[in-house]
């Protein structure tokens, strides 16, 4: 997503300058061990700045007796500037003679002696005119801030620098944008959070910063959170700082820093433009979250009929599939097509599945109502059996697996090069292709042209149809139990129509009222939904319910050790 949330405008910069005032012969050499800066961007468009500085004076240097702090502009009230040295108030706070705009803290008797460490706190309670237009997004205001830096000749050691922006109250966490961290910063991005007042904060931290480099930090936020009039256009070059003239060589380096600052402002614009691009580049590619547990994956080994239950195939079709199955196996044949009546054949094949046995028993009953109830029991038992088999296995992966089998079965049929092979593959894969919701259309499409070699079991299913078929000249190898035949052929379209009609109507000729039949099953097999939001695709239409009794295989036996 293209982002154009910031370019800059301008900048609030703050310089902290330690100067040798007024005795130029003094030599200053110190480290800034820690520097913590909190910048509060207030809802009236002003800013509040808090500093904590831990300074260690070199044993050979002069006492640290004055601290000058540069300010962003002249829109501050000197009476609202406070300082502390080692938690003792600093009495001498006045306009700086050397930094303009800026203030000066005279430590007087509390100057940090050579070799000692002192903690200086500074509060600038209010500075106005510190927000500027965001060039790229007129709805945003931009704020930049550079904490202090010193002339490098005065500084030794590293600085643990932390700068925290507290954005205006009310800004929502997903609204503001940070600007890229300074070059060389350990992280290109600040950490984020909320402060105790619920304000969004950006925190930049570097334990290995130095106190003689200018670091610039920035953020943009919707300007609607501050009065419109407080957001200004960028300050023209040279207008922001007007440092006073240096009075001696001892502060030359510092003053040069100021003299350059008007130019730095321009440079910053370029830096920010680069930062926008680098900001985009630095972001990590997003990988969606993934939670996983150890357990079983695919439940293999289900029959097509069991898979049909799993895939929520309409129950009337499942019933038809069972009928086809027992007929194909030579366990029964149709003696009356409407109403449907079947008879068991002898000898019975050995490998009938429990639901096939149950089905055959149920079909014996000729009373429609009793037969329907018996068949409902068959289906209920079948559904529960599948649920049990699915325990601990992935429903999604298992469904995908059987969908893939179904697709492959179709693929084989559709890619067959001769009518014989096509007929044979269709017969072999019929149980699987029947899982397809588009079974009807695809069957008619596949057999739109050319003859179909009618499978041998078709005669046991549709004896009336087979009588119209012509004997084929070819002899596919399909073999019925105990006999070998030459298969008859039908025009493909006729076969397809018969097949589709059969699949559509067979169940109703078994149970007369399919809807009533289905309801009788699902009211038992579909318990109330699980106690949570459910992303499961188990629905009430398919005669199945959540096989939720997972084995929680990921527990990995961490409950306790056993064995005694």
């Amino acid at each position: 997503m293209k982002r154009q949330y910031f370019s800059i405008l301008l900048t609030v910069s703050l310089l902290l300058i330690l100067t040798a005032v007024p005795v130029l012969a003094q030599t200053y050499y110190f480290s800034v061990d820690q520097e913590i800066v909190h910048v509060y961007w207030e809802s009236d468009g002003s800013m509040r700045i808090e500093y904590i500085l831990v300074l260690t004076n070199d044993p050979s240097a002069s006492p640290l007796d004055f601290i000058d702090i540069g300010l962003p502009n002249y829109n501050y009230d000197l009476s609202s500037v406070y300082g502390w040295i080692n938690d003792q108030p600093i009495q001498q706070v006045k306009k700086s003679e050397y930094v303009s705009p800026g203030i000066e803290l005279g430590l007087q008797s509390k100057a940090i002696p050579p070799g000692a460490t002192g903690e200086v706190k500074v509060l600038i309670d209010r500075v106005e005119g510190v927000l500027f237009d965001d060039d790229d997004d007129s709805a945003y205001a931009s704020a930049k801030f550079s904490p202090n830096w010193f002339g490098s000749q005065y500084i030794f050691g590293k600085t643990n620098l932390t700068v925290t922006f507290h954005l205006p109250p009310g800004v929502q966490p997903d609204e503001p944008r940070w600007h890229a961290s300074p070059s060389g910063w350990p992280s290109n991005q600040p950490s984020t959070g909320l402060d105790s007042d619920g304000r969004v904060i950006y925190i930049w931290q570097n334990p290995s910063a130095n106190a003689h480099t200018q670091y610039t930090f920035g953020a943009s936020f919707p300007r609607s959170y501050v009065p419109s009039e407080v957001v200004s256009k960028p300050v023209p070059e040279g207008e922001l700082f007007q440092p006073s003239q240096p009075s001696g060589p001892g502060i030359t380096g510092t003053i040069l820093g100021f003299m350059c600052f008007g130019g730095i402002i321009l440079v910053l614009v370029g830096i920010v433009a680069l930062a926008v691009n680098s900001d985009r580049r630095r972001k990590l590619a997003y990988l969606p979250p993934k939670l996983a547990i150890e357990g079983h994956g695919i439940k293999r080994g289900l029959t097509a009929i069991e898979a049909a239950v799993l895939l929520e195939t309409p129950l009337d079709r499942v019933l038809t599939m069972i009928l086809f199955s027992v007929i194909k196996k030579g366990a029964s044949q149709v003696v009356s097509e409407d109403p449907l009546k079947i008879e068991r054949l002898t000898p019975q094949p050995k490998k009938l599945r429990p639901y096939e046995e149950d089905f055959l028993k149920a079909m014996i009953d000729e009373t429609p109502r009793k037969r329907r109830i018996a068949l409902q029991k068959v289906m209920i038992t079948l559904v529960k059996s599948v649920q049990k088999k699915m325990k601990g296995f992935s429903l999604r992966e298992t469904k995908n697996y059987y969908q893939a089998i179904m697709k492959k079965a179709w693929q084989q049929v559709e890619q067959a090069e001769t009518p014989e092979v096509r007929s044979k593959l269709f017969d072999e894969g019929l149980e699987w292709t029947m899982l397809d919701r588009d079974f009807d259309d695809r069957t008619q499409s596949v057999f739109r042209t050319g003859p179909v070699y009618v499978p041998i079991w078709w005669g046991r299913y549709r004896p009336s149809t087979i009588s119209t078929a012509r004997p084929s000249t070819a002899s596919p190898s399909t073999r019925a139990p105990g006999r070998s035949v030459s298969l008859p052929t039908l025009p493909g379209a006729q076969f397809a129509a018969n097949m589709v009609t059969g699949v559509q109507n067979t169940a109703s000729s078994m149970v007369s009222n399919v809807l009533s039949f289905t309801n009788g099953v699902t009211k038992t097999t579909n318990p109330p939904p699980p106690p949570s939001r459910s992303r499961s695709s188990w629905s009430s239409s398919g005669g199945s319910s959540c096989a939720c009794a997972c084995a929680c295989a990921g527990c990995a036996c961490a409950c306790a050790g056993g064995g005694r």
Binding site: V122, D195, P288, K290, K408, P531, A553, C559, G563
Partner: protein
């Protein structure tokens, strides 16, 4: 005017560094203990009540941490957007989904992670953590029982570490990122500093458990002492509802009375209580009655295991062959269902002989040097509490050297699996059974296949 102290805020987002984080969440009827272990590569492991392990990719680990730290959705979205190339909508939806998943996973009656939450499924034992989920601490090999089938291979007077040394062990385990420790033995209640060590571990954030014969728990004051220390769960061994059979199997006359009293005592408190029973020739014929008896006592969770072929177990001769376990477990399972008890089966078996998955007991495979290990009384680390071959000393050797010791790898990578198992489709779950059984019961050879239901069309 004083400069206000720096304003406190919630943990910085960048505070998510490798290590272990622990949380306690109030849930209906109690609380949930949650540990998030963040690996160096950013991946995470979420352990809920030291029982349910959820593997997280780096994004999920970050989101889980934000959820557990109580970060709001807008905060999380802002952070994600600034860190990743992701649209607000995507970040919001993904975060909300992770939050919902975690909420459900924490709930005792939450949605099924497989079928409702549809979490990705990993093959069993496919993940190699950086450290076990659980460490057993065998405080002592002394024991006030004398089980003829005991798996302990060490002498009873084995050297023991001091309390201070055990504290250091616990510290070390927390540093490694192990959220769950179980005090075992021998009989851990013979260590007078048990409560102190429990307190120490709980203060660090670990879940503590106790594996005991329950004899000392017959003293109510002792139980209260452990509870005050913060003990989370206890497993008590009871071999039979028949006093004489239990006493015979533990080798101590009168032990049954005290063990049962111990069970009664701990059940009065809010501890997670379970029992464990070793199915041997002497007690298995009556195992159904034993389960009934435990239900009458109010035991909510019952555990069973087969003989462990270690120590005296190698020669006691009362073990039940894996092929004969099914009938006994059918009874146990039926009775536990009838009583509403949870059943935990411990023993890794060869699935061609005894398939716990088909028995709906869950996947059971050897988890030594993967999900659990054991520290011996002298600080030696062994792959599990029955596999007496040290792979280092927890106080003297680096964790890396222990975790990646040849024996640790040999077990973790299942190099012990018989070649006959390699073609078996169940190998991932089964893992070839218990390595100790393989070593000491070579006659329990694996079949070269497992009958699988036929499919009508091969893919």
């Amino acid at each position: 005017m004083r400069l206000p102290s720096l304003r406190s805020s919630k943990p910085n987002m960048d505070d998510l560094t490798p290590g272990i984080y622990d949380y306690t969440h109030i849930i209906p009827g109690g609380h949930a203990r949650i540990h998030l272990r963040v690996e160096k590569d950013g991946r995470g492991l979420l352990l809920i009540n030291a029982n349910r392990a959820v593997h997280l990719n780096p994004t999920a680990a970050l989101m889980a941490w934000m959820v557990l730290e109580g970060r709001s959705e807008p905060e999380a979205v802002a952070y994600l957007r600034n860190r990743y190339q992701v649209a607000s909508k995507t970040a919001r939806e993904d975060f909300a989904e992770v939050r919902d998943d975690i909420e459900q996973l924490i709930k005792p009656d939450g949605a099924c992670p497989i079928h409702d939450l549809e979490l990705d499924l990993l093959p069993p034992f496919s993940e190699t953590p950086s450290a076990p989920y659980r460490m057993d601490l065998a405080l002592t090999y002394r024991c006030n029982a004398n089980c003829p089938h005991c798996y302990n291979l060490r002498p009873r007077n084995y050297p023991e570490m001091t309390t201070d040394q055990w504290r250091r062990v616990i510290d070390q385990l927390w540093e490694i990122g192990i959220p769950h420790i179980c005090f075992t033995g021998g009989e851990p209640t013979l260590r007078e500093d048990l409560g102190e060590l429990i307190s120490h571990a709980e203060a660090k954030g670990q879940i503590t458990g106790l594996l005991t014969n329950g004899i000392r728990l017959s003293e109510r004051s002792y139980v209260e002492n452990l509870l005050d220390a913060g003990l989370d769960h206890v497993q008590i061994t009871i071999e039979s509802h028949l006093p004489e059979e239990h006493d015979r199997m533990v080798g101590i006359s009168g032990a049954w009375d005290r063990t049962v009293q111990g069970i009664r005592n701990v059940l009065q408190y809010g501890l997670f209580v379970m029992t464990n029973t070793t199915l041997l020739a002497g007690n298995t014929p009556y195992i159904g009655d034993t389960i009934d008896f435990l239900a009458d006592l109010g035991v909510p969770t019952v555990g069973c295991n087969a003989l462990i072929y270690s120590g005296r177990g190698r020669s006691v001769g009362t073990g039940i062959p894996e092929d004969d376990l099914a009938p006994a477990l059918e009874i146990v399972r039926a009775r536990s269902i009838q009583h509403g008890q949870r059943l935990i089966w411990y023993t890794p078996t060869q699935y061609c002989h005894f398939d716990p998955v088909q028995m709906q007991l869950g996947v059971k495979g050897c988890s030594a040097a993967r999900y659990n290990m054991c520290v011996e009384p002298d600080g030696a680390v062994i792959p599990c509490q029955s596999y007496y071959e040290p792979v280092g000393n927890i106080l003297l050797d680096s964790w890396e050297s222990i975790w990646n010791h040849d024996l640790s790898l040999w077990l973790r990578e299942r190099r012990y699996v018989p070649k006959e198992c390699n073609a078996c489709p169940m190998l991932k779950e089964c893992g070839g059974g218990c390595p100790l059984t393989l070593r000491h019961q070579p006659q329990q050879a694996p079949m070269n296949h497992i009958p699988m239901p036929e499919t009508l069309l091969e893919t």
